[in-house]
């Protein structure tokens, strides 16, 4: 009878990392680094800085794995670390991008410079360009909801804001994306 080898869960890996198990750390890195890097890079649009933050995130995972209490999913924990480090970096570079005074009731009508869309003829490219044009706060929730398929309570924990804010942010992001896409496709439906 063939023996079934099961991959260790994230929780098991974190327990082992807390005991300074390098092999567990390497496996955890290989499992998640691409997603975390992509998440950071999407918000910063700077691959070099994203690489730096990715490094800081994994160093924090290595150093603080023993403090993970299992009250949330492991992914919620490490995306939270990545989010906070990215926000800190953006705050230093572009303070207006993460202003806590954002009025969530105002639909963000920021649109792209038409010249940026000259080459964006394919739908996927157009959507990607419109997502880039969102505010960093909205881009984060869109990515967590649609790329990582997270629930709104999980996203609320990651970004450290109330659940209502997450729902409002994604609602406004959706409206802004619709507006952006329709402007360049002429589709008003």
């Amino acid at each position: 009878m063939a023996t079934q080898i099961t991959e260790p869960s994230d929780e098991e890996l974190i327990e082992r990392i807390a005991r300074q198990d390098r092999a567990a750390f390497d496996l955890f890195y290989k499992r998640h680094e691409k997603h975390i890097y992509f998440f950071i890079q999407k918000k910063l649009n700077d691959s070099f800085e994203a690489y730096d933050i990715l490094h800081e995130v994994f160093m924090e995972i290595w150093r603080k794995a023993d403090r993970f209490e299992g009250r949330s999913k492991v992914s919620t924990w490490f995306f939270g670390i990545a989010f906070n480090k990215t926000v800190d970096r953006i705050r230093k570079k572009m303070p207006d991008q993460f202003s806590e005074d954002d009025n969530e009731d105002i639909v963000d009508e920021e649109v792209l410079n038409p010249m940026e869309l000259v080459g964006a003829t394919e739908e996927a490219t157009l959507i990607a360009k419109c997502i880039e044009a969102l505010k960093a706060t909205q881009r984060a929730v869109v990515q967590l909801a649609f790329y990582e398929d997270m629930s709104y309570p999980e996203i609320a924990k990651i970004i450290g804001r109330p659940e209502g804010t997450v729902k409002t942010r994604i609602f406004h992001a959706k409206q802004a994306l619709k507006l952006c896409i329709s402007k360049f496709t002429g589709d008003r439906s």
């Binding site: 691409k34 070099f48 790329y147 609602f171």
Partner: protein, 202 residues
């Protein structure tokens, strides 16, 4: 739009990604049965999600990033293992620190009051060629031979201005100014080269 209708609209993205549960999920499904526009909105969100999910995550630091982490973890461990200096050594270090501070203040004051004659322009590592183009950070493949790398740099009109840095990359600059598009195309060519592990624009 009523508050309830707005609430349901705000929940729809989480129905589309399959994370909605319980009463909220039932409420959304009830409205979907009754409201054609709401169903169209769900189709739009599903298409949007499919599009976002189809996006290629592109290159990530991969093994290179892991090697850098190993190095940092080793350095952490070494710091933790260092023996504490005996108490009587503190006095020496205090004197050394004071001397170093005085030297630093002197050096800074010389720099501050010296006439400004230089510029921020980069020159090649050999100090011979002035470069005007954008700067890239390049991690070369360990197996790449020097001749092939030199040929690649020459063909792309690039020159090394610094490196290797502590984490192993070279800073390489285009000799001529480049438009944004040309810069992006050059970056893509560099990343596609078998001699290069990763190239990043500064």
């Amino acid at each position: 739009m009523t508050d309830t209708a707005k609430d349901l609209e705000q929940l729809l993205p989480f129905y589309a990604n399959g994370t909605l549960e319980g009463i909220e999920k039932e409420a959304v499904e009830k409205r979907l049965q009754e409201d054609e526009a709401f169903r169209l909105e769900l189709d739009y969100l599903k298409a949007l999600r499919a599009n976002i999910k189809a996006e290629d995550m592109g290159q990530s630091p991969g093994e290179l990033g892991l090697a850098r982490l190993h190095k940092a973890i080793d350095a952490d461990a070494n710091v933790g293992n260092l023996p504490k200096p005996p108490a009587n050594e503190n006095r020496f270090w205090r004197i050394a620190a004071i001397a170093a501070t005085i030297a630093l203040i002197f050096a800074l004051s010389v720099q501050l009051y010296a006439p400004i004659t230089g510029s921020d322009d980069y020159v090649t590592a050999s100090g011979t060629t002035k470069v005007e183009g954008p700067v890239f950070q390049i991690f070369f493949e360990a197996e790449g031979n020097q001749g092939a790398i030199s040929s690649l740099l020459a063909a792309e009109k690039l020159t090394i201005i610094e490196g290797p840095t502590e984490i192993g990359y070279y800073r390489v600059a285009a000799i001529e100014k480049l438009s944004n598009n040309t810069r992006q195309e050059l970056l893509a060519r560099l990343n596609a080269s078998p001699l290069i592990q990763e190239a990043l624009a500064e």
